[in-house]
Every structure is written in C-alpha cells, then in structure tokens.
Symmetry: C2
Subunit: 230 residues, 2 copies
Amino acid sequence: IKYLARHVVAADRLAMEVASLYRRVLPTPPAVEFASPEGRRLFAEALEGGTMEGFFSLVPHFQTQSEPAFCGLASIAVVLNALAIDPGRRWKGPWRWFDESMLDCCEPLHVVRSQGITFGKVVCLARCAGASVRCFRADHAAVHDLRAHLARCASSRDCHLIASYHRGHFKQTGGGHFSPIGGYHAGTDMALILDVARFKYPPHWVPLTLLWEAMNTTDKTTGFPRGYLS
Amino acid sequence: IKYLARHVVAADRLAMEVASLYRRVLPTPPAVEFASPEGRRLFAEALEGGTMEGFFSLVPHFQTQSEPAFCGLASIAVVLNALAIDPGRRWKGPWRWFDESMLDCCEPLHVVRSQGITFGKVVCLARCAGASVRCFRADHAAVHDLRAHLARCASSRDCHLIASYHRGHFKQTGGGHFSPIGGYHAGTDMALILDVARFKYPPHWVPLTLLWEAMNTTDKTTGFPRGYLS
C-alpha cells in the first residue's frame, strides 16, 4: 500500500478548513526524528548498547492520545498495558484492557478533557490502577537522577518512565505535555520520546539535559515544577 | 513505573467476571513473540539485514483496534497514518488524522462493528482514503510473490503490507483477521505481524510459508480466498 499522488481531491476540501492542521514539522535540532537516517542510526547503536530493552515491551502498546488534552491519560495507558497490568474490569467485548476512558479514578474525564491533568494526578492514576510509581519533581531531583533512572529502565523490561515537560524547550508548539520515554542512547546522552500526540509529532530523540530543563519548568496550574515518573 | 504485586484487589473483582479475558497466551511455536529474547534477536538481525526499514515508519502509528471486529479498519488506519496520507477532514480539535471511525466510505460502521469487514471492502477503503493499493488474493498469487513484495516493502519506507489471514494456522483462537506486517527476517523467512488486537496477542514473528497458508483460506462470507494488500 502506497501513497497515491491523485489525493489532491482532499486539497480542495482543505481550502475550506483553514484552521485545521495536518501534523506539525518537528523542529530538528534539537530533536532527531525516530524514522530519519540519524534516528535509525541512534536506535541501532542504542540497541547494540543494551538500552533499548524497554522499547520492546513499550512500543507494542504505543498509542495516540484520543483527545487533544489526554496526553497524561494516554501515557499512563501505554505504560499500564506494557506492564501487563490487568485492569480487573472489561474494556470491550470480553476483553480486559486499559483504555484512557477507564482512567477516571483521580480526576473526572470531562475535567481532563477540557483542562488536561496535573503531574500529581497522573501519579495518583497510575497508583490507582495498581502500578508501583516513584515520582521525581524537578525541584527534588537532578539531571543525574533522571539519567540513572532512564539508563536502568531502558536496559530492562519491567519499568518505564513517563516525562512531564514543557514543549517549548524543544521549539515545539504547545505547552505542558506528558509522554513515555522509549529508550536511551548513552553515547550522545539522548532520550527517545514516544510522543502520544502522534497526530502532531512523530517519536523523536532529544538531548537528556534539554529534557531535564523542559521538566524543570513550573506548571502554572499547580505552581510546582514538572518532572518524571519511574 | 513498575508492576505492583498488591494488585490483588483486582483479582476479587475478576472472580465475578468469569467470562472476561486478560489477553491470550501466544502459541509459540509457530510464532515468536516480538519482545522475547529470540524475537529481539530476529529483530536485530533483520535490522542489520536492511529489512526493518518499513518498521520505522509503521510502528509510530501502530494502534489497538477500537472494537473487537475492527481489525480491518485499524490495519488501514495504521498504514494510512504511516504513509502520511492527509484525510482532508478533521478528526478532533484542529487535527486531521485517520481514525477507524472515519473509515466509513465502503461499509457502514455499524455493519463492520457486528460482522467485521471483507478483504474486498478493505481494499475499497484504502483506495477511498487516497492510497495506491494492489491486492493479491491467494488464488491469483503464490508464496514467492508475497515474499518478494514483503522483502521490498520491508526494505523501504513508502509501502506497507496488510495481511488477511486465518488465525487457526498459528494455533491462535479466532478466525479471519487483518493486521499490518512490520518487517521481514530473510535468514529464517519470517514475517513480523503487528497484530492490531493488542489486547489479545502481542506482535509476533511467524514463518512466511505458514502466513501464506493462513492467507490461502476461504472467507465464508465471500466464498473467496484471503490474501494481502501491498
């Protein structure tokens, strides 16, 4: 199956929808796109280095956030499914499975839909779902903690990191965002962000120090800095 | 974030839901789980061999079918998004993006929800969305065609295969199924199935000849054999 050039019929319809968007161009640098030649080289080297182990359990559950403000819920759902945590209740048909719509135990979904969710409530949600979570706010941790935690989780298959950060540090549009981290490249000290806003940006590698700076920003809703969950 | 053993509270709730299921055990052999040590070895070798190129554009869009009978719709959505085909209409917020709920141009969604979808209508849907599609029914192609097409698409980033097959050949529960193919391992002649029923089976490698046999089965709804789209 291939892209077909005659898809210009769609362009006519687009002319009537000036305010709608088809993805955003990923600012590179500072990011390196996952599927670019450089991204594939980083992937292959990190795989060789043993810091893509977590990727193999995480990427089978990588998903698109189902609402523009559901980045926190989608990040949690990816990790809960990757850890094979049984929700203990049905999703659809006979199947038990974590879907964003089932993550309503710390904040009503209609509130998340309109305002997003805070770092503290994402921690609450992960715990409510049965995960063991440690949270690191940027004012109580340092970049070397993030590096150590990421290197360890990326080298194993039983823990995963979720980053809470501000997109501005990567020259990306938008503000606060959540996404799981899918791997680590030790040689260049870069982290692979599996961005759950897949309709906007593809997965991408970013310098870990810049990711730390993006975490070390204040969430205006809470007055506290962002950080990461491990 | 880790699995927490105290998640036994859920087990109590489970006792009351005897007919519900948390995943199925993947029969191995014939399949090899993507995240198993052998699966990771196959992946690394195929990556080295240049037949995982398509994986890098496909896996960023890998998704879970949103309904038990939406395997065809989910497979198409994964491939359309991987090919960066603009749907020309909004999904949510300002974003244009392919979601299964937008794939209603060849069969009404309520029909697909209750009965699934046929090979022919999946081809129709991919074309309707603007993709260039060639379809190969098992009675008009041979296993070497499948191998040649897969080897070529797995080595590039601008085409992807969707398989229409019967799960029974892999000792899996269920009947006819659709899923995209995420890579090829030439040395062992195995294909990586990115199974969209992620609540049931994880991604897995299968022998290509067995996949061909699973395609070479009759869909009782149409009376025609299954096959693949390229």
